[in-house]
């Protein structure tokens, strides 16, 4: 399965947006901490990995990975 750089970028921005919005809603008192926490538990890991994939992925084809001995 190959994911394009633009795709992981979208996942990252969506995840970061959800995290920020839920934090904002918690600070304004619209949602309780438990809901905010549940959202972060689900979204934060995906966002972190998407961020890493985003800045790791090259625009071009990339080199051939070393397969092993």
């Amino acid at each position: 399965m190959r994911m394009k750089k633009t795709m992981v970028a979208r996942i990252f921005w969506a995840g970061a947006g959800v995290c920020l919005i839920s934090s904002g809603l918690f600070f304004t008192g619209l949602i309780p901490l438990s809901v905010c926490a549940a959202v972060h538990v689900l979204v934060f890991p995906v966002t972190v990995l998407a961020l890493f994939f985003w800045w790791m992925a090259g625009q071009s084809g990339g080199d051939i990975p070393f397969i092993g001995y």
Binding site: C19, S22, S23, A37, H40, F44, V48, F52, F53, P65
Partner: protein
């Protein structure tokens, strides 16, 4: 809240870096800079990444997400003053994450790391006993109730010093380069994390940072009571100094010795809990 989460992760990684630097200085080596673990995380995140051909790909990837997810949950339980039992449960489930890391790759090194993680299950029992002792004193396991108890009756580290020692030992068994860290011993290359490279390893580093922060903060909250943020951070640094000394001056034990010592500590803690139950409870 997301800012706190990210800062906690980075501070946890910084603590691991301090830990590593101190061990090096105690052993008269120059050692890496204190922010090395943060750099490590960034370095791994830029590496080319794929899934090994022998791996169970879904589990291989999912376990990284679960590792970050469970410690995010633990962080929020800590922040909201929730039940100590939930944090304890998450700590135990970290073991399953270790199994998942080790077993999903198909590599024998990871596999043996996972198997060692199973046989060192004895290290968690002292944690249960110290939690039981705390429950005997405070009559509740909610962190805010434990804090309230300490505001009235003074820090628990005075009243339940052996329980604090047992919990310290439990944290020590999860620290890198410690006497009990047989799951990532060098004879197994890197133990359970051998095959998780590149971004998967960077994700593991994130979870390690968060784990270190949460475990140290829980220790300070449970045994020293309410601390303001500067004191909490100072306390964590002091605790990591103590852990670094313990790790630096002890060799890594063989799996058999490690399990034997942990089982002996469990036995001692059970006797201590029985004494507390008979003396304090009535």
């Amino acid at each position: 809240m997301i800012a706190e989460l990210v800062l906690a992760t980075l501070f946890g990684l910084l603590l691991l870096g301090i830990h590593r630097k101190l061990i090096a200085r105690i052993q008269r080596r120059p050692g890496p800079p204190v922010w090395q673990e943060i750099l490590h995380m960034l370095k791994f995140s830029f590496k080319t990444t794929w899934v090994p051909v022998t791996a169970s790909s879904t589990l291989f990837v999912a376990v990284v997400l679960i590792a970050i997810g469970i410690w995010t949950a633990a962080f929020y339980v800590l922040v909201s003053g929730g039940s100590l039992l939930v944090i304890l449960g998450i700590y135990m489930l970290h073991k399953i994450v270790e199994h998942g890391f080790g077993l999903s790759s198909g590599s024998p090194y990871g596999k043996y790391g996972g198997v060692r993680s199973v046989i060192s299950a004895a290290s968690e029992i002292p944690l249960f006993v110290s939690v039981a002792v705390i429950a005997i004193y405070t009559h509740s396991l909610d962190l805010y109730a434990i804090i309230e108890y300490q505001q009235v009756s003074g820090p628990l580290i005075v009243a339940a010093f052996p329980a604090a020692c047992a919990m310290f030992l439990v944290i020590l068994s999860k620290m890198p380069f410690g006497p009990f860290s047989i799951v990532e011993a060098k004879e197994l290359v890197s133990g359970y994390k051998t095959e998780h490279f590149g971004i998967w390893r960077a994700g593991l580093e994130v979870s390690n940072g968060l784990k270190t922060y949460v475990l140290l903060a829980v220790f300070l909250t449970v045994f020293f009571g309410p601390l303001t943020l500067p004191w909490l951070l100072t306390g964590m640094i002091l605790l990591i100094v103590l852990l670094a000394f313990s790790c630096a001056i002890t060799p890594m034990m063989s799996p058999f010795d490690s399990v034997t010592i942990q089982t002996m500590v469990t036995g001692l803690m059970l006797i201590y809990a029985a004494i507390v139950l008979l003396v304090v409870r009535p």
